[in-house]
Symmetry: D2
Subunit: 500 residues, 4 copies
Amino acid sequence: MTPDHSTFPAPVYKDTVLAPLFDGVKRHHWRYQMQINFAHAVMLAEQGLLSAEEVRQILGALAGIIDGLDLDRLVYTGEHEDFFYWVEAELKAAIGPDVAGRLHTGRSRNDMDHTVFKLALKDRLAAFRDQLATLVETLITVAERDAGTIIVAYTHGQPAQPSTFGHYLGALIEVLLRDLERIEEAHRTVDLSSMGAAAITTTGFPLNRERMAELLGFSAVQENSYGCIAACDYVSAPYAAMKLVFLHLGRFVQDLGQWTGFETGQLYVPNAFVQVSSIMPQKRNPVPIEHLRLMASLACGRCETILSTLHNTPFTDMNDSEGEVQAAGYEAFETGARLVTLLTGLIAAVQVDPVRVRRNIEAACITVTELADTLVRVEGLPFRIAHEVAGGLAKAMIAAGEGPSTVGFAKFQALFQHAAGRAATLDEAAFRQALTPEHFVAVRGLTGGPAPAALAASLSRYRARIAAERDRQVAHAVQATEAAEHLAASVQLWRAGSAA
Amino acid sequence: MTPDHSTFPAPVYKDTVLAPLFDGVKRHHWRYQMQINFAHAVMLAEQGLLSAEEVRQILGALAGIIDGLDLDRLVYTGEHEDFFYWVEAELKAAIGPDVAGRLHTGRSRNDMDHTVFKLALKDRLAAFRDQLATLVETLITVAERDAGTIIVAYTHGQPAQPSTFGHYLGALIEVLLRDLERIEEAHRTVDLSSMGAAAITTTGFPLNRERMAELLGFSAVQENSYGCIAACDYVSAPYAAMKLVFLHLGRFVQDLGQWTGFETGQLYVPNAFVQVSSIMPQKRNPVPIEHLRLMASLACGRCETILSTLHNTPFTDMNDSEGEVQAAGYEAFETGARLVTLLTGLIAAVQVDPVRVRRNIEAACITVTELADTLVRVEGLPFRIAHEVAGGLAKAMIAAGEGPSTVGFAKFQALFQHAAGRAATLDEAAFRQALTPEHFVAVRGLTGGPAPAALAASLSRYRARIAAERDRQVAHAVQATEAAEHLAASVQLWRAGSAA
Amino acid sequence: MTPDHSTFPAPVYKDTVLAPLFDGVKRHHWRYQMQINFAHAVMLAEQGLLSAEEVRQILGALAGIIDGLDLDRLVYTGEHEDFFYWVEAELKAAIGPDVAGRLHTGRSRNDMDHTVFKLALKDRLAAFRDQLATLVETLITVAERDAGTIIVAYTHGQPAQPSTFGHYLGALIEVLLRDLERIEEAHRTVDLSSMGAAAITTTGFPLNRERMAELLGFSAVQENSYGCIAACDYVSAPYAAMKLVFLHLGRFVQDLGQWTGFETGQLYVPNAFVQVSSIMPQKRNPVPIEHLRLMASLACGRCETILSTLHNTPFTDMNDSEGEVQAAGYEAFETGARLVTLLTGLIAAVQVDPVRVRRNIEAACITVTELADTLVRVEGLPFRIAHEVAGGLAKAMIAAGEGPSTVGFAKFQALFQHAAGRAATLDEAAFRQALTPEHFVAVRGLTGGPAPAALAASLSRYRARIAAERDRQVAHAVQATEAAEHLAASVQLWRAGSAA
Amino acid sequence: MTPDHSTFPAPVYKDTVLAPLFDGVKRHHWRYQMQINFAHAVMLAEQGLLSAEEVRQILGALAGIIDGLDLDRLVYTGEHEDFFYWVEAELKAAIGPDVAGRLHTGRSRNDMDHTVFKLALKDRLAAFRDQLATLVETLITVAERDAGTIIVAYTHGQPAQPSTFGHYLGALIEVLLRDLERIEEAHRTVDLSSMGAAAITTTGFPLNRERMAELLGFSAVQENSYGCIAACDYVSAPYAAMKLVFLHLGRFVQDLGQWTGFETGQLYVPNAFVQVSSIMPQKRNPVPIEHLRLMASLACGRCETILSTLHNTPFTDMNDSEGEVQAAGYEAFETGARLVTLLTGLIAAVQVDPVRVRRNIEAACITVTELADTLVRVEGLPFRIAHEVAGGLAKAMIAAGEGPSTVGFAKFQALFQHAAGRAATLDEAAFRQALTPEHFVAVRGLTGGPAPAALAASLSRYRARIAAERDRQVAHAVQATEAAEHLAASVQLWRAGSAA
């Protein structure tokens, strides 16, 4: 081999990796690093591993670094490997290398980095949950308003039965409530402090891992110290959970696409969300729906991209080089925030078009199922006979271009007579009622059905569940705030020399 | 348009879809369909929607169908659209169309299909959890046995610090315990009955949805009836959770690959798992590790494939056509079962090679970190000075081809003197001890560290957590068994005419 | 370590890997292995590495193995590691170990396996291309038949302009023609023999790699011998190319879904492809479209699964363990075959519904664009004014519930007068013609447009291109057949002792 | 419904979609839009659809817009829907609405957008191909330099046979050459102009599509006009091809990881690329390799994300809303550029460590295969006997801690005598030579083997193939430059009034 006279960093490495990483820390992570520095200093002092004077100097110097920080002017030069070393250099310059060096007692960039990433994820998850809860609350509000608004419900992409807009939205609301519970589950994996794991195996110094968790607002420590810096399911868990949200929302958006199609027209999108053509004034393009669809796909893909980076990473090979991956993950939150916000705005603005709904119901004769059921219940017909009557009527309606509200009663009577061998007892008013969508909905009152009382009960339960989610969000926020205040107070005491 | 004289099914549709679907029902689903038929009949009778005589006839005919079923001879002909219609035809033949038709009161293929799929998923999830729990228990047993077995721990793919095999496995154990909790979370989404949703909106007949859930062994009903047949997060949730298991296991398998590499040799794979070459007797290929890796990738991909089918399915367009997708999902369970079983067998069989571990520790001087810490703690040196001494010693060892157990004490003394300006108080025995991996491990006793007491406490907690998982598994099994027994007893009573 | 008294194979390894792999060879690969055995023996004899007598014995024994093969009875026992070793054992039993052993001169399971997999992929690619070409030919035939059949063309999911069904299908035809070219490109990567690479580095024996390629029907050798057994882009290339076919077809299927929706109804699906409901005779569910959609998604996912297995496989770590991955890939072909076959059958059977098309054109006023263009060309109006007239007319039509064929001419005249400050020269016939879809289409005769001559020219070019694809397919088939015949003849000569 | 008094755009839509899209156009696309404006004006004039005076005014105004453009000050306000409308408004302000309006003759945002995206992709593909070709050229240069540098070649992750670094790199070079051909194939799909397709169906105005293609530097028009704005395989094709590059490079990077591991140490990474630890001076972390791995995964994921957006987009529903998707795709190019550039720099800097290679060869006895082959060729032994001798020797070496260069000749002689029943004719020098890696390599001279002449021939062919790729790159660049110059000249002539 030729002798190696090269020095770190190679310019190509600096340009393609180190400088972009440094910019990423400036953009996303530096505050969390400093938060850990403060907490670690306090904990060391509490454990007697820093003297009162040492901790006073260190905390003062840290505060000074923040005060003097000018991110715009702080350009990566390659002199310091990364932001961590830049801070260390600043500390040394301020208070001398010996005292400055003591801050790093019993820790490593490994546990610091993963703790930084967890803090960053917790903040992003909190923001996303807030956005998602707002969407759910908006959906519930719309569902309450439109609890009785008739729509056509589809299966196989074809009109199938009447329901109400509120009932339809209830299906999505339940999915999102479960999505939020899944995110809470994922949050529990993120909410475990890695501090104290040091490089891999903890340290021989008597640190207090539980105290660090408390000062940083974590619920607990992540136990196994190797796992703290290698397991990385705190990454896979939230992105897998988020991905499902985007997958599910993308499906709903495709419904919106069908429902707002010109020929279907079940849902009216107001002008504020419609792009028009200068030459085709009849053409109303609800383009936001397409944007929602592609944003959902992009957000899904961005989550999956993060999962895929773990696929070829050996278990014990996850380390501080991961800033780029974390930042790539934040793009999923960015896209997801726009998606959820736009959908919230849109869903609050759209209206069911009752004229089109009626027209489609009439054309598709989708209430005839209930007529058959009625004949079973009221006339005591066997199902087979009842279906024969209802089916025959539907065929006759379609052949004659009639609908449930216009078909002649005599046609029904004749079909009934022929099939049942006797006259129907049902009079025309009852017959006509049996074919209205309102009646169809009204009698479907089992748990989870669209009938008014059933739906009201459901919506009330959704209100309770989203309120519980809001409680969880508040609890997390309180935990973070109290920890921050507690840390600030502790810093203050140690800086003032009054902690002992 | 030319007139349509075609009749269902087109031969190409029969060959490419209907016949394969029918075979899928025979293979995976028919028992669940029959279970639902029994439960639905019982519930209808309890609700007064079937007379005692009607339910007696129906239950008898259903039992007769099962008795007469010969799956090998039951070939799809196209005469009946699917298995459901084949059963209906058999029922009609047995007890006449009017009574037979009453079984379908207030239900639809939509709610039946999704309930079938949920029952099938619950059984597969239960089996998978059992396999996974066995792996965890095996890992804990190995970790207990090897709680003190020294290994080299890696970061960046490079030897970094000593730890123990038990401690290393603890990291994986924690991940898998969280994976199991995530699957339990997903199970809750699957464990909700769709019955009573009928086609979309429930029904006007006074069914008892909660009773159906109970008879089928579900914890509760899935509330919104549209969601029951459209939401399909009972599909996305478990496959997303399973995928993470395979992603995480694949990472661990990559560690095994590195550790069993000829040059590293930290882990010995016994002959029973090694494929040899006829010409290179020294070549020991631990091929099962490669198979584990590819099985993990395939299982991941199979889960993701199922998620992807939902991506372009509008929210309200999920229906009985999904048998092929469900069957594709079961392939993930099949591959996953082989993966977990093989890994369980392998991990119980491998052994840490202590000779290679010592050699690698010596060569890589990975205990020197602790010497520096010792100098801080015992000699009261500032970190900077302690590191200078330890670093200098490491450089000297490598230059001289020495390791921590062979390096001369005088070298240390000289370096100390030079850096600290005084002689070290540490004697040779203490110096030598500070460089052993056993000492390195012994002093790392923070929560989650490898020191004996810390690790024992961790392993004890893992035992408790996997026991809790076993309790959950048992609870699910009991729920299923009791429901089946309760259903069988109810069927018996109604068939005997003694239910009223 | 405890002493290792274990023997290969561990039962768990046999059950989870070796036995399933053996079954995979029986199902997919054994003929290719034997083909290689024959070709290798012939080549060795030609190179003077086997004597005439040796090759006679070997070829005879190989033929005897095939004659005696009973796959149903051939069950994996663990006695032989795999099918290769089973063949070797049979050979040894037949002609003694020394002569039998000579067959393996200069080769390894590595080059054999990858050559087997390439032969298997070539056959599957050929079959898939044939299916796809049949689809393209069917699309061209339908496009020719419906070259003048008016449809509504959509953008943003909304009706936008008239076109013809033939023109619309032309867009898909072009995509599929490019897809086929992409598969041909991928085929070139598969069509390179790995034989002669031996384990990694070729061999010191004077084999003839080019001759092996010829005898096996490959176009050439894959050059670098390490690449022959490690590169595996012969796997990634075809599955990536196939995946795009499924991605693209899935998009088309979603169009079919929209077009056959009840409210749009532009495309009529005949009864042979429609599943009906016993209670809603008006409900026609074109369920095959949903199956096509999910089959496209599954096929996509299956291709991607294969790509993902490569993601965590180091470059030089690809080897004979890959039978399971290959078999998983064949599932993509199986699903893809059903998808393409069903789509071919469906597209030949559907019809544009002219009544619904007219109704939708009238309702959406989508011909009004051409009126504006006409006013520019015929009346010499500036665009702005022409659009004002046409836009005003569209608004008036919609307000009055009129369409292009019924709107009053006077309305147009008044709008023209008001906007242009003069009377229009266009008479009513010309005005009315400017609003017909037939006129709209007829004037759009640029390259690639729907006007009759332009479309006929396009379709003629597509015919030429699919004919060229068929020529390529024939060339590949001839290459395979001629190689097989040539190999059989060579075997015959050497067995007869007349080759020298 | 309540009356709709809303006006476009809704603030939430502006904030989440329109403003980000506008910023995307400013960042990525505005120049291409203007290029199309110039070309379209020239073509319209050539076709007589604009008068000399009209085109002069339009071209002047377009030039004025560019001259006055201040991207920093150009902030999205919602006044104009998008950049296109902003340009139109500027044009109208400059030369009046009637003349300004004529520029849009026979075109639409649909064909413009897809043409913009294709121009942008072509530029990015050209840059990426240049980066990739530089990597290939660097690999060839290193391979030429290290054509004779012995390495250990691995299979199953275990040392298997000696080869040379040049030979190993040849395997990757071939993959990348095929990758480049695949990108050229994809380029052909991108290199087709959509202009003239207008909204969907071309136009009734006599445009010249071929001329537009020429003026914009496309090789041809994309034929079917619906396909021009809907097919979007110009998106799927390049991203699928790029993804394979990243997949393949990621595999190679994993080899680098193994080869630079401390225990293997086959490849030396110079200090310029190594991050060190302050406490463990022996620890050399080649962290760039981990960054390469994660960048390859991210780039893969970013390509796949783009493919996934197409998955739920109906065929005819692809339109101008796609700016966000295109911009997301450019991230794959950005990550890919850093990946390829860093890998190029790294591969030029690493060196094979001959000391470690020898040590590993000795330890693993990987030359013994050739001894067996030698005994077959020189001593005329049957394979079985030759393998018995060589295998016995290997076992004896390992038991005695010897290697091929140190094992006693007498041991060989005794084993030979015992197995063959006679003394070996091979003398010690020949025996010793048969076990050297140099001899092992030298005799492996089949096509694609590592022997000097064979490898030199391969490398020479690679040189020719990358030169051919460079020729293709130059041809594409010349095509683009000439088209730009031709367009500029045409613009000049029309502005000067001298075009007629």
